[in-house]
């Protein structure tokens, strides 16, 4: 039961990624993604971007809980108003609401990070502080 979480910048370049296991169902946060899937995860998320862009100007909400799926893994997305994308691929079912909460909190972190004058837009987020905060949120919601 694992998650693969990625933030893509406004030009669809990856900005941040994280593999994390669930803390529910007595999980301990260690991801268990099969090897063959780990090699593909970036491709899977990127291929779902087409659907995201198709829906971008049709849907009013930011959050989409059934964006795409790939052999039992489903992909959820959150599109910020500034065209930043948060994507999660997971094999967990029925966690949509907590993932939505997670995205909302991540959105706040993401904005704070953008406001840092030393951060340039669409550059990888290397801040250790950001990483710890994301992991803490994952522990709370995922």
């Amino acid at each position: 039961m694992s998650y693969y979480f990625a933030i893509l910048g406004t030009n669809d370049a990856p900005v941040y990624e994280l593999e994390i296991g669930t803390y529910r169902q007595s999980g301990n946060g260690v991801p268990h993604l099969p090897n063959e899937l780990q090699e593909l995860e970036q491709f899977i998320l990127n291929s779902s971007l087409d659907i995201l862009q198709d829906n971008q100007f049709k849907d009013t909400g930011l959050f989409s809980k059934n964006l795409d799926s790939f052999y039992g893994y489903k992909i959820l997305s959150y599109l910020t108003q500034g065209n930043g994308k948060f994507l999660i691929m997971t094999d967990l079912k029925n966690h949509d609401e907590s993932i939505r909460q997670f995205f909302i909190e991540i959105h706040e972190l993401y904005v704070r990070n953008l406001l840092n004058p030393f951060y340039e837009i669409n550059q990888p987020i290397r801040s250790a502080d950001f990483d710890t905060r994301v992991r803490a949120l994952a522990k709370r919601y995922l």
């Binding site: 406001l115 840092n116 004058p117 030393f118 951060y119 801040s127 502080d129």
Partner: protein
Amino acid sequence: MSKQLKQLGDDIWKNQVEKINSELFTLTYGSVVAQLCKDLDNNYDQVNNELYKMGYNIGVRLIDEFLQKTQLSRCTNMHETAEVVSKIGFKIFLNITPTVSHWTADNKSFGLILVENPLADFVELPNTEARKKLWYSNVLCGVLKGCLEMVQLDCDVSFLQDSLKGDENTEIRVKLNKILKDEIPAGEE
């Protein structure tokens, strides 16, 4: 006395000061620093100097606005100066009141501890070199230096610690070198 100063600072802040959105202010200053770092190829010592100079130029002008708004008279000792700087100076221009502390025995040097620093909201220093060398808010030192110099106090002003660097507090150190005499400019009788 210190109660009165606080009251005066509050009054001026409320009634006489033009205010701007704090995020606009923070982000503007942030862009300035980030751009300086870029222009000077991340030579952080030079960035510090540049910020200090900018501050100095602000300070020598700002003191006039300060005196015009406050109508204060001359301070009698450094303790009074420190109180005025903290309770009125910082209050009316930044709406913060740093704590005055760490007096040396000769009463010539004190620390200003900034509990919050409006310049540094959202900021995270980019790398370890910046963490070691860059004094992000160094403009404040320059401002203090400029202001104090214009009222005949020749001081050394510098940051001692900065919470951006992982230090416990943000502290500006002010040290009085000498009191300048009112002198007639060269060439005039």
